[in-house]
């Protein structure tokens, strides 16, 4: 299949990258998420770019896929598919494009890139990758990762992923992303050197936070419910669609048998012969028309799948918020208890159980000096705690603000894309009917001439 760019409507506005002279801009974003968060104001659309001195636009395409064999980490032979990524820069004036970079990447490297982005941009709804394994298959589709159709659809999905990242106002500026497109060798090492895996929040911690957080921002709670619903409804839809495709395939293909039998029958008929034969031909046409129809539908299914996976990205942002909020609540709680301890020590009243109180009872009271020392320590801790709480609060607010901005951007994108996809689907159905009318009109004419 020829290299297919996503259709014009879906083509995202290519975003600019910083020119080579500013490697630090990317590094900056790799290091400090707070700084990153502080930098971006307002909805993250493309217009921001113009304010900066980006000189060139770029085009990214995943143009080829190739089967390769190599040795994996355990020194075993393995077969995998590599994808060619080509980057072109487009001169503003005349619109001509020049190939600037071209390298090969495999799926696992895309995964690495995305995991990195997830860690460093937790407030961003990070675009999803196409599925790792074929799901929602109907009988004709193969679930084999090496199947050419699957590889082709994955190629398109990966290209889409890169375009989404490149057109995201914040993600596009990331250095690691830039290197992904331009530096073939050593890229993996570079990513790992950022130490992002260590920065990643543990799943367990996140789960714990989800259950224990007391006052998450209501909008995030709603968003979480929404993303759950979205995920559930799209999965259901895709499952049923696959079954529908299966059945439709059956209906069309069985008609093909008419073609063969009519043709054989026409041999013994004099007057009916011609009519039968030509009607049979139309039955063959009808039967084979389903292949193209279902191929188009598969693209539609892929568009829905992207948003199915986007739902998970939304949930990731919500989880991060819950984690931060929980952290904040814990810090506040800790601070409050320290203050209370301090107060108790100062006033001498024991309202709550404490180990010190216990030991005091058992071993006698401490000296005033000891008490003073302890109060001092606590006061220091309280001070620190208050600072931390303040900055955590600040972080939290920043996070919520930035995340929400990206979520708004995402919502608009989603509504636009899904509306387009749904309309295309309806148009596909209509075109299928029109083809049906044509074939059956032809067949009817043949039948009536028998």
């Amino acid at each position: 299949m020829e290299q297919a760019l996503p259709d014009p409507e879906r083509r995202l506005q290519p975003a600019t990258l910083e020119p080579l002279g500013h490697p630090d801009a990317g590094l900056e974003s790799a290091v400090g998420e707070e700084a990153e968060g502080a930098r971006d104001e307002g909805p993250g659309d493309g217009t921001m770019m113009e304010n900066n001195f980006w000189l060139k636009k770029i085009e990214i395409s995943v143009s080829e896929a190739e089967k390769r064999t190599g040795r994996n980490a355990m020194n075993m032979q393995e077969t995998y598919t590599a994808y060619l990524i080509e980057t072109r820069s487009v001169e503003h004036i005349d619109g001509q494009s020049v190939l600037t970079d071209s390298l090969w990447r495999r799926y696992s490297e895309f995964e690495l890139l995305r995991n990195y982005l997830l860690v460093y941009y937790p407030h961003i709804v990070v675009p999803p990758l196409p599925e790792k394994r074929a799901e929602f298959v109907w009988h004709k589709l193969s679930a084999d990762n090496m199947d050419p159709d699957f590889v082709e659809r994955r190629r398109i999905g990966l290209e889409n992923f890169l375009l989404r990242v490149a057109s995201h106002p914040i993600l596009c500026r990331d250095k690691i992303f830039y290197l992904f497109l331009t530096q073939e060798g050593n890229w993996k090492e570079t990513v790992n050197e950022t130490g992002f895996q260590l920065k990643a929040d543990s799943r367990l911690k996140a789960l714990n936070a989800t259950f224990r957080v007391k006052n998450p921002d209501k909008r995030f709670t709603e968003l979480k419910h929404y993303s759950d619903e979205l995920q559930s409804v799209i999965s259901h839809l895709l499952r049923v669609r696959a079954r529908v495709a299966d059945r439709l395939y059956g209906v069309y293909k069985v008609h093909g048998n008419y073609g063969r039998v009519f043709s054989e029958w026409s041999a013994i008929e004099k007057e009916m012969g011609d009519g039968l034969q030509s009607a049979g031909h139309h039955m063959d046409v009808y039967a084979s028309s389903i292949d193209d129809i279902l191929e188009d539908e598969e693209h539609y299914a892929d568009q829905l799948k992207e948003y199915l996976f986007y739902a998970e990205a939304l949930r990731a942002v919500c989880r991060k918020h819950e984690l931060m909020q929980y952290d904040l609540e814990m810090a506040a709680q800790d601070l409050a208890s320290k203050k209370q301890q301090c107060e108790e020590l100062a006033t001498g009243t024991v309202r709550t159980f404490s180990l010190k109180g216990m030991t005091t009872k058992l071993f006698g009271q401490e000296t005033p000096e000891q008490r003073e020392a302890r109060i001092k320590v606590l006061e220091e801790q309280i001070n620190e705690g208050e600072q931390q709480l303040k900055s955590k609060n600040q972080e939290g607010r920043e996070f919520v603000k930035n995340a929400w901005a990206d979520i708004e951007r995402f919502k608009e994108q989603k509504n636009h894309d899904l509306k387009e996809a749904l309309i295309s689907y309806a148009v596909m159905q209509i075109s299928m009917c029109k083809k049906g009318i044509q074939v059956w009109t032809n067949a009817k004419e043949c039948f009536s001439k028998m």
Partner: protein, 444 residues
């Protein structure tokens, strides 16, 4: 009991001469190769040679259909025209109108059975009255058919619906089965009525007019069961012999019948399979549409578009129903009847061969001088007449049958195609997302 020659030539003014002018089917042409798109016929699609379980009865409620062939009801759809069976000989002179309706269940201590009401209206003199109403059960139809076969061994008797559908039937008398059978019985009687010879058969008249007890006593007059069985055994032996000396034109006829039988059986299976696939597609689509409505509940901006797609899917569903009914009303009964016809035809060939074989064996006996030559010569004379009559009857009826078959098949498929066209036209309704769809289409 033996073949009567009197009727065929005299009455059948519309038929081509029964004598030597019979058109032979072009059985010489080699079968063409398959139509080239053999890619379609991968094992994945169908293995039509195995005995499929698809022989279940499926017909839908024919609430559209007015089964009375005499009442001047305008066809409500092209479908209803199918059942006004087209017999192109002298349609205006039809003087015998039969309907089969009102199936009723009867329960006795021994068995349960269904009877059908048969109403006959006629202007013929030989009938005592102009209108008759009787009730008959399947067994009675079977009796009639056997009598007709005996009286006219080389005429193409219309087929009866099967006795039972062996596979896929849980209950012998479910509504669909009864309705399909009723329609087929109606067709059976009307085909007899329209046949230039059979229409004047005495047993046929008795069948249509006699009260229950009259029919029973009439039935007893026929040859007993035992003698009929005895004949069968002898007949098989004879027919083997008859095949060898079959004249050329009957060889061609036989060739046609064999191939036709093969093909029509395949078409029957294919059509039923299509029906099954459509039904399963319909079932899935019914679940598909509502998911979009469900989704629209959690979306604001997308709600309208989602509902639009749901309504599009809904129309697809309705269109599928239309196609299904097109199949079950128009195509499947016709194709199935011709499957049964092809079996019938093979029976007719056999009987013709048997009659011929009788003659041949006597001729052989004569040449080997095994028995009394004078007696043999006389018998041979009679048999030669018999053979000539039988052959002529078959030839004439064959032409008539082929013509009918062509018309019926042509109508059935044309009507099915028409239904399919309508079904697709019905789906093309843009509905609430009209403008967006139109915009998109223009862009493509």
């Amino acid at each position: 009991m033996e073949g009567e020659c009197r009727a065929p030539q005299a009455r059948s003014s519309g038929l081509p001469a029964g004598g030597g002018g019979g058109e032979s089917p072009g059985g010489d042409a080699p079968l063409p190769g398959s139509s080239g798109s053999s890619a379609l016929l991968q094992a994945e699609v169908l293995d039509l040679d195995e005995d499929e379980d698809d022989l279940e009865v499926f017909s839908k409620d024919a609430s559209l259909m007015d089964m009375n062939s005499f009442s001047p009801v305008m066809p409500t759809s092209p479908l209803s025209m199918i059942n006004q069976v087209k017999f192109e000989d002298e349609p205006d002179l039809k003087d015998l109108f039969i309907t089969v309706d009102e199936p009723e269940s009867h329960v006795t201590t021994i068995e349960t059975f269904i009877t059908y009401r048969i109403i006959t209206k006629t202007s013929r003199g030989e009938f005592d009255s102009s209108e008759f109403e009787v009730r008959r059960r399947y067994q009675d139809f079977l009796w009639l058919k056997e009598r007709l076969e005996e009286a006219h061994p080389t005429l193409i008797i219309p087929p009866l619906p099967e006795k039972f559908i062996v596979k896929g039937m849980v209950e012998r008398f479910n509504d669909d089965f009864i309705e399909t059978r009723r329609k087929a019985l109606h067709k059976f009687l009307n085909r007899i009525a329209d046949h230039p010879t059979l229409t004047f058969n005495e047993d046929f008249k008795v069948f249509l007019t006699a009260q229950a007890w009259e029919l029973s006593s009439h039935k007893k007059q026929g040859p007993g069961l035992l003698s009929r069985m005895g004949q069968t055994v002898r007949a098989v032996a004879l027919s083997m012999r008859g095949v060898k000396s079959r004249p050329e034109e009957f060889m061609e006829m036989n060739n046609f019948i064999e191939i036709f039988s093969q093909k029509i059986n395949l078409i029957d299976k294919i059509s039923q399979r299509i029906y099954k696939e459509e039904r399963e597609y319909f079932d899935e689509m019914k679940e598909y549409g509502p998911i979009h409505i469900l989704w629209s509940a959690s979306e604001e901006d997308l709600a309208d578009t989602l509902k639009g797609v749901a309504s599009c899917i809904d129309r697809c569903c309705k269109a599928t129903e239309k196609r299904m009914s097109g199949l079950s009303e128009a195509l499947l009964p016709v194709v199935h009847e011709y499957v049964l016809y092809s079996e019938m035809l093979m029976g007719v060939m056999k009987r013709r061969d048997q009659i011929q074989a009788e003659l041949d064996s006597k001729v052989e006996a004569l040449t080997s001088k095994k028995a009394d030559t004078d007696l043999l010569t006389e018998e041979i004379g009679k048999l030669e007449d018999k053979v000539e009559c039988a052959n002529n009857a078959l030839k004439a009826d064959w032409e008539r049958w082929k013509q009918n078959m062509q018309n019926d098949i042509k109508s059935a498929f044309t009507d099915m195609a028409e239904e399919n066209i309508h079904s697709y036209e019905q789906t093309i309704y843009y509905g609430p997302i009209y403008s967006s769809c139109k915009e998109k289409e223009e862009m493509i």
